[in-house]
Amino acid sequence: MKKSIVFSTLLLAGVYSFASEITGYIGLEGRGFLDNPIHENQKNNSLSTSLSLEYFHDFEDDNERIVATGYARKDSSTDGRDHFDISELYWWKGYDDFELYIGVRKVFWGVTETSHLVDVINSSDSVENIDGEDKLGQPMVSLLYEQDWGTVELFSLTGFREPTYLGANDRLRSELIVEKDLTTYESSQEEKHIDFAARYSHVLGDLDLGLIYFNGTSREAEYNKKSVEGKDVLAAHYNQVEIFGTDIQLTKGDYLWKLEATHTKPKSDSSYFSQVGGLEYTFVGLANSDADLGIFMEYQFDERDHAFGQNDLALGTRLVLNDTQSTEFIGAVTQDLDNKTKFISLEATRRLTDTWSIESELRVFTSVDSDDSLYDLREDDYLQVLFKRYF
């Protein structure tokens, strides 16, 4: 019945291309921690399930689109990771000279592998993973103008999405947990402050260039220790900041040169500079096989003493087998150059069938210095295996 309705709608659409579809996946994730926990009630193993559902609908001769994406996670052992998010819920329209987006979106900016400095639009969904690649949907109105001399995007970000925080029973949490009720904002409009962002990007032959500007509520919190009923907790404070940044990639033969840099100017604090940059080289057809082996090096620097990547060197390798199952391995060691702290990350992905895939990751924190920003994670080495069933 439903099928025939869809089919007749398709026929009615006639010459106009008309598409809509619901897709998504169910994820089954197991995590095993290799060391005993520091805090009470933290467990060594966890199982969790996630669901991602995505709907899109193209109409008006493909000049308009509606997208809706929902994401949910349920964890077996803790409740800090349980959440639901509307990652996308927007309407897009393409005009002759520009494009308009209204609604909740995810926007990724950047080129580097080990840190994402210019990716400033969306707040982190920190309970998902510590790599900062999982984001919450951001409500916005945005305009995109594409010309021969480059692409300009303007964003009015209508309201701040507070990042998710891990709970007391979760592994990989900070020494003190963040108490959400204590969150404060520099702006009197608090999370309702409307932020502004802009991006200019252009491709000049081998060079992909981006310039970014952001003015509004910082996506990174400043944490202050507070005492609630005799218990120490952290309170997040979100400053108003202005960010100028750039992302550049030069693609020359087997070499990729990458740089991201930002200059952040808090409204009521001194400004600071951050950068991550390096290169990646690929040995194509390793030892006469189909496999490609890439090696990369990225140097991270931040003027703030206690930032992640304040003076760190990351060395990594990427092995792509180019087989039917698209098997890939990525490994990286990040060494703090001021102390002995090392962070090791290994990731492997492989397709199992047309609809199933497996992703695994191993993360190890070793020789963690008590002054390092990773100190709280020193006993949280883990191995994660994720099965995804797509539909």
Partner: protein
């Protein structure tokens, strides 16, 4: 009447010989290299002017044990007035790569520009095009086999004429200009009447026969452009095969440069 007839009988072989001599030095270069290049230019010329095209593609990967996997993708191409084509491939299956899209600007000279869109991360990555010898999606087709075949990407040598599947063909050798190519040479069988490739033998870096591509089920569109529905690649060294089945060809659909940018790549579905 009779004398005229007699005359014709005598002169016609002479004229034919003269004409053939004239034509071959005019239409075809005097050296095998010139002749090969002229045939390649004619192949390219006859396919000029389609503006843009879209199609869907089914890729069947087979191993030597007879097991096979199928993937599906959509393809769109835009002709450029003074350069190689722009093209975009979007995957529909397998599901873990659904929505992943590959954008390529082919250049007549120098390396191509390529970007990959990863829908999970909403990220567009510029990728190195020097991996042209690498397999495309785990298939027996290398990136360089599926990218736009610009005349300037090879040097040519006319080899011979041969009959293939009942059709008269020119056999050319073409040598990739780019040192990053996985091939030392390719032998191409080109239909004499339609100027389309019917078969290609690929020779690896050690000059031994690596793969054979057979292109069949050609159909003509807009009374001009020939497109094959079936491309079958056999790897002689591993016994693996890949079959490409094209369908739903459309031409002059109104695609423009703005449909082949990093921005439009992010909107691909």
């Amino acid at each position: 009447m009779l004398s005229l007839h007699q005359n014709k009988k005598i002169t016609s072989p002479v004229i034919t010989a003269l004409l053939v001599g004239l034509l071959s030095s005019f239409a075809f270069g005097s050296t095998p290299e010139e002749r090969g290049l002229e045939i390649a230019i004619e192949v390219d010329k006859r396919d000029n002017g389609y503006n843009d095209s879209t199609s869907t593609l089914e890729m069947i990967l087979g191993n030597k044990y007879g097991e096979s996997t199928t993937r599906t993708m959509r393809n769109k191409t835009l002709e450029q007035p003074d350069d190689g084509d722009k093209s975009q491939i979007t995957f529909d299956n397998p599901r873990d790569v659904k929505g992943t899209s590959f954008l390529s600007y082919t250049h007549k000279k120098g390396s191509d520009d390529q970007w990959l869109y990863l829908p999970g991360l909403k990220r567009v990555k510029r990728i190195s095009s020097s991996n042209k010898s690498g397999p495309f999606m785990g298939s027996e087709f290398a990136f360089e086999d599926i990218s736009s075949q610009e005349v300037e990407k090879y040097t040519y040598k006319y080899l011979k004429e041969e009959t293939l599947n009942g059709r008269d063909t020119y056999v050319l050798e073409r040598d990739p200009v780019d040192p990053k190519s996985g091939y030392t040479k390719q032998n191409v069988w080109i239909d004499k009447e339609r100027y389309i490739a019917m078969k290609i033998d690929f020779y690896d870096r050690k000059s031994s026969l690596l793969k054979t591509l057979t292109i069949t089920d050609y159909k003509q569109y807009l009374d001009k452009f020939w497109r094959a529905d079936k491309w079958e690649m056999v790897n002689h060294q591993t016994g693996k095969t890949t079959i490409l089945n094209y369908s739903k060809w459309n031409f002059k659909t109104g695609l423009k440069d703005k449909h082949f940018t990093k921005n439009s790549l992010k909107r691909s579905r």
